[in-house]
């Protein structure tokens, strides 16, 4: 019977993630995500000045942040590139701190937790990313896609075996 991976094997070290202090602006977050896009990162971890992990900023939250301007645009002028968006978006909105838009982490998983439990928590709390701690210290994060891949691969392998 195929074995399912441990959560430890799926986590991504915290230093590999884009992260920012909560007072960084929406504009800075857009820049950061733009420059980290090619590395496969679509979210930003948010910290306080003491390096306490506070939350995560998703693309959708950024879009929400600049939404008022978007809806005002006529269909023909909807920005289709980040750069254009930067110039057309409301400057005041862009200067707002990301803490206003991020999703706070209400939950943290332990590195010893089973990935099924992690998947359950993600579904329950409607989040695609969870921080992982070991001995009360955050050591990384795990994403929905990692969990998804591991669980579905396990199911497929189990089906073939049976």
């Amino acid at each position: 019977m195929a074995e399912i991976k441990k959560l430890r094997d799926l986590i991504i070290p915290i230093t590999d993630y884009p992260h920012m202090p909560y007072w960084a602006t929406l504009e800075e977050a857009i820049v950061l995500l733009n420059f980290s896009y090619e590395t496969g990162h679509y979210t930003i971890l948010v910290f306080d000045e003491s390096y306490r992990l506070l939350g995560v900023l998703h693309q959708r939250e950024i879009l929400r942040g600049i939404q008022p301007k978007l809806v005002e645009l006529s269909p023909g002028k909807v920005p289709n590139a980040w750069e254009e968006l930067m110039s057309t978006a409301n400057p005041k909105q862009l200067k707002r701190p990301i803490k206003d838009f991020m999703t706070p982490f209400n939950i943290i998983v332990d590195v010893e937790d089973h990935i099924l439990k992690v998947a359950h928590l993600m579904l329950k709390h409607n989040t695609g990313l969870l921080p992982v701690k070991e001995s009360e210290k955050v050591i990384g994060a795990v994403g929905m896609h990692n969990i998804f891949h591991e669980i579905t691969a396990f199911i497929l392998k189990s089906k073939v075996t049976t």
């Binding site: 230093t15 884009p18 992260h19 920012m20 202090p21 909560y22 007072w23 960084a24 800075e28 820049v31 950061l32 420059f35 980290s36 590395t39 910290f47 306080d48 000045e49 003491s50 390096y51 306490r52 992990l53 506070l54 939350g55 701190p97 803490k99 206003d100 991020m102 706070p104 982490f105 209400n106 943290i108 921080p131 701690k133 009360e136 210290k137 955050v138």
Partner: protein, 860 residues
């Protein structure tokens, strides 16, 4: 867990606190700062004095021994002070400098005490044994005559020298030297000069000639008469001066006596007269004004077969009025030569081409009514020119060509144009009587270099001259040290700043131009040593000049032209007529122990050591460098918190405490706000810090913020480090500010005074809260911005050490403003720097928003 609200409260509370002054620590700081300031002052004194001495050695000025002695005293005293203050500042860490100082000082004293050495020789030396290398033994004129006779093999009258050693013995015999003191002579006091001159000449004329010298002269004359007996002419001699500096590089023309047609029994009398002529008022004036010392006034004498001349004259191997003209000028008079040079009659003038045919280009034959002729018994007198000779040329064409040939042979032998005296005896034999370097009158009377040239594009017309001259070549821009490696031969070095490291290409550079820099700086000193025309402080050279562009640098009028202007380059070539005077040589000698800079690379610890200081410049450079390091340490020292710091109440997210070393804070202040700060660098920094919007915890929407914090469940970094106080040790011109910002320590040290050489900013940063790769990216960001404002930055990982030096006060203040904004801008930014692309974006962002280009860097 403590909330940020608590932290804000704490900050607010802290701002109302005032630390209790602790006098002992502050006294220590003050003492150290006092040492630092005195060191800077002494350092400036050395640099300024050095610059002045180097300017003197450039040849544009006349100076005397009292100048050399007094400037040396200033330098010695100042360097000693530097070492004293540095050791006080560093608790004796650099005592090895004293050893270096003693050695250099001893060498300087040796150079100052150096006197002209008179070699021990026979009293008389026949011309057959004389060459130009024997100037100190036989004087300049004799030495050249011997050279012409024995090495050039041109005809020279027979004769012998009465040596310099004979002169010494003569002066010693009646202790004449003790009687002759010229040091108190004021050459501006004509009456006094005449009085002293007469006294000395009377002494000499009455003095006894040592019997052995008299015998030697008598014997030498006997030998001479045997040699010339076969000519069948007169057996008298001319007795001619040959001072040890005469004819070498100084003509001394007409300064000393020549006695013509002297009978043997009067030789010693005429010898006295010639020796006495060393002290005529005009000769004393000449010596003093040329910087000779009393000890250098030594007179050898030539006793030369008297040529009963049919014609005589002088010739120049090059046209002295037009150095560019390829022609030989010959002047001739009937009779003896003095009339050719004294202007008594108008001489024949022949201009001869240097072409292979020696074509006679011009002849000018005025009427000569009188001439000088040997008298039947002794001496010479004026007689009517012989009938039939008036209006006729003194020389036939073939004789003119023979003389022209001689002139060229002599010029070739000596390697420079010659001023030659010649004589034609009654049997039409030529004799060379004297050959000395031709003072090119064309150079002397050279048209001054025009302050601006029409027809040429003037690119830059400002700056400060650090080394006079004119150089032309292609522009080679130096933006980083490595650029020096490929410096092309003959290029013009153009840089933003000066650097002693440019010395490595000074043998290749035709000129140096820099936007910023001081004529009293280290590099300027090196440029003068290498004689590279240099203009500093042009402000715009890096922007105005393009790499590879051909330019002419006129470091006489502070102009830079497009293209190569040969007439300027040629006009800029100068020969220093003063360079072979004894006093010039003494200055040159002492400067060898003062000016050269060997300690160029402070980062090379192996070579940047007190033991390796070979000159006073090395000591000052070393001391200034390490003194700044010693001062830099006080801000981060363990005692800083006990230094009687006063809290600075300011609307900044910083807990600033100020320690005043004097003049940095208003005296009557018991509550410090930015308005009480008098420190120039501190004010500049505070202004920048207050102008920028600080990134950080926004003081709004606290409720939402708290809810976020409340959800945090992970172990954070220590919060203690976040709120540690920052200490600023300041004075009117100085600031050493250790800034605690987030998780890194940053120190900004600056000096902003009136002397550009003192001014600097140092920026040191280490640490951060993010991972090492992100911290390193932040130092890259800071490095790029600092380099934009001309800092030299060393960076290793998350450690950055930047420095900028030698800008005027206003520019230092501007740069501090930028540094302040950069400080705020990068606070905890390391967290965000995910990759290099993000760094690049932030660099551009800072430049766009906060970098104000300094339009006018440099001196006020």
């Amino acid at each position: 867990m403590r909330s940020l609200l608590d932290i804000f409260k704490k900050i607010k509370f802290k701002r109302t606190e005032t630390s209790t002054p602790s006098p002992p620590e502050r006294t220590i700081f003050k003492e150290r700062y006092d040492c630092f300031q005195k060191l800077l002052s002494a350092n400036n004194s050395v640099l300024e004095t050095m610059a002045d001495m180097e300017e003197k050695i450039s040849g544009d000025y006349i100076f005397d021994m009292s100048y050399v002695r007094s400037t040396c005293e200033t330098v010695v005293e100042s360097v000693h002070n530097i070492i004293e203050h540095l050791n006080k500042l560093s608790n004796g860490k650099y005592s090895a400098l004293y050893d270096a100082f003693e050695k250099i000082n001893s060498d300087i004293e040796g150079a100052l005490a150096k006197k002209a050495e008179i070699p021990v020789t026979p009293f008389t030396i026949p011309f057959e044994q004389v060459t130009k290398d024997m100037v100190n033994s036989v004087g300049g004129k004799n030495a050249n005559l011997g050279e012409v006779k024995n090495r050039v093999n041109l005809p020279v009258p027979e004769g012998f020298c009465i040596s310099a050693y004979a002169f010494k013995k003569f002066m010693d015999y009646d202790k004449l030297r003790d009687e002759i003191t010229l040091s108190s002579v004021d050459i501006g006091d004509v009456e006094g000069l005449n009085r002293i001159s007469k006294k000395v000449r009377d002494l000499i004329m009455k003095a006894h000639i040592p019997p052995d010298l008299e015998r030697s002269i008598s014997n030498a004359y006997l030998e001479l008469s045997k040699k010339i007996a076969h000519r069948g002419g007169i057996l008298n001699a001319s007795v001619r001066s040959s001072a040890i500096h005469e004819d070498a590089h100084f003509t001394f023309a007409g300064q000393y006596k020549t006695a013509l047609n002297v009978v043997p029994e009067n030789l010693t009398k005429k010898y006295r007269e010639v020796v006495a002529s060393l002290f005529t008022p005009r000769a004393i004036f000449y010596c003093e004004s040329k910087g000779f010392q009393e000890e250098d006034m030594v007179m050898a004498v030539g006793v030369v077969e008297m040529i009963d001349a049919k014609a005589s004259g002088v010739m120049y191997s090059r046209d002295p009025t037009d150095a560019g003209r390829d022609a030989i000028i010959i002047n001739a008079v009937w009779g003896l030569g003095p009339y050719a040079v004294e202007g008594k009659v108008s001489p024949n003038t022949y201009v001869v081409s240097k072409d292979s045919d020696r074509t006679i280009l011009e002849k000018n034959i005025p009427v000569q009514g009188v001439m000088l002729k040997c008298s039947p018994e002794e001496g010479a007198g004026e007689v009517e020119a012989l009938e039939g000779k008036e209006g006729k040329p003194c020389l036939a064409d073939d004789q003119i060509k023979t003389l022209a040939e001689y002139a060229l042979v002599l010029e070739q032998h000596y390697g420079k144009p010659q001023d030659i005296e010649w004589s034609l005896d009654q049997n039409d034999n030529f004799f060379i009587l004297q050959s000395r370097p031709l003072r090119i009158l064309a150079e002397k009377s050279k048209k001054p270099i025009p302050t601006s040239l029409r027809g040429y594009k003037l690119l830059i017309d400002k700056g400060q001259i650090a080394c006079k001259g004119v150089g032309a070549g292609k522009v080679y821009l130096i933006t980083k040290e490595e650029d020096l490696e490929n410096f092309p031969e003959g290029a013009v070095l153009v840089a933003k700043h000066t650097s002693p490291k440019f010395v490595t290409v000074m043998n290749k550079a035709s000129a140096i131009v820099a936007d910023v820099g001081s004529p009293t700086g280290h590099m300027a000193s090196l440029a003068r040593e290498y004689n590279v025309p240099t203009i500093l402080n042009t402000e715009v050279a890096m922007k105005s000049l393009e790499a590879g562009q051909e330019i002419t640098v006129d470091a006489i009028n502070r102009n830079i032209y497009e293209g190569r202007i040969e007439e300027l380059v040629e006009a800029g070539k100068t020969e220093n007529p003063f360079k072979d005077t004894p006093v010039f040589k003494v200055l040159k000698g002492v400067l060898q122990n003062i000016v050269p800079l060997n300690l160029i690379y402070p980062e090379d610890e192996e070579k940047f050591r007190p033991e390796l200081c070979e000159t006073f410049h090395d000591i000052t450079r070393f001391a200034h460098e390490v003194a700044m390091n010693e001062m830099f340490k006080i801000g981060g020292g363990p005692d800083v918190k006990k230094g009687g710091a006063i809290k600075l109440v300011v609307k900044l997210p910083l807990d600033i405490h100020v320690i005043d070393l004097g003049g940095g804070v208003k005296n009557d202040s018991d509550k410090i706000t930015p308005d009480h700060i008098l420190s120039i660098p501190m004010n500049a920094l505070l202004k920048g810090l207050m102008e920028i919007e600080w990134p950080g915890p926004p003081p709004v929407n606290v409720k939402g913020f708290l809810s976020v914090v409340a959800n945090t469940t992970i172990q954070p970094h220590s919060e203690k480090a976040l709120w540690e106080p920052s200490f600023a040790v300041i004075s009117k011109e100085y600031m050493n500010f250790s800034i605690r910002l987030g998780y890194h320590l940053q120190t900004v040290e600056a000096y902003a005074g009136d002397n550009l050489n003192d001014n600097y900013i140092r920026f040191l940063l280490k640490g951060g809260g993010a991972s090492i790769d992100r911290r390193a990216r932040r130092t890259r960001l800071i490095k790029e911005v600092l380099e934009k404002i001309d800092f030299h930055v060393d960076r290793t990982g998350d450690v950055l050490d930047g420095r900028v030096t030698k800008y005027d006060r206003a520019t230092i203040e501007k740069k501090l403003g930028t540094v302040a904004k950069l400080t705020a801008f990068t606070k905890q930014l390391d967290m965000t720097l995910f990759n290099d692309a993000v760094v690049d974006w932030y660099v551009q962002e800072f430049i766009k928003k906060h970098y104000v280009e300094e339009k006018k860097p440099g001196r006020c």
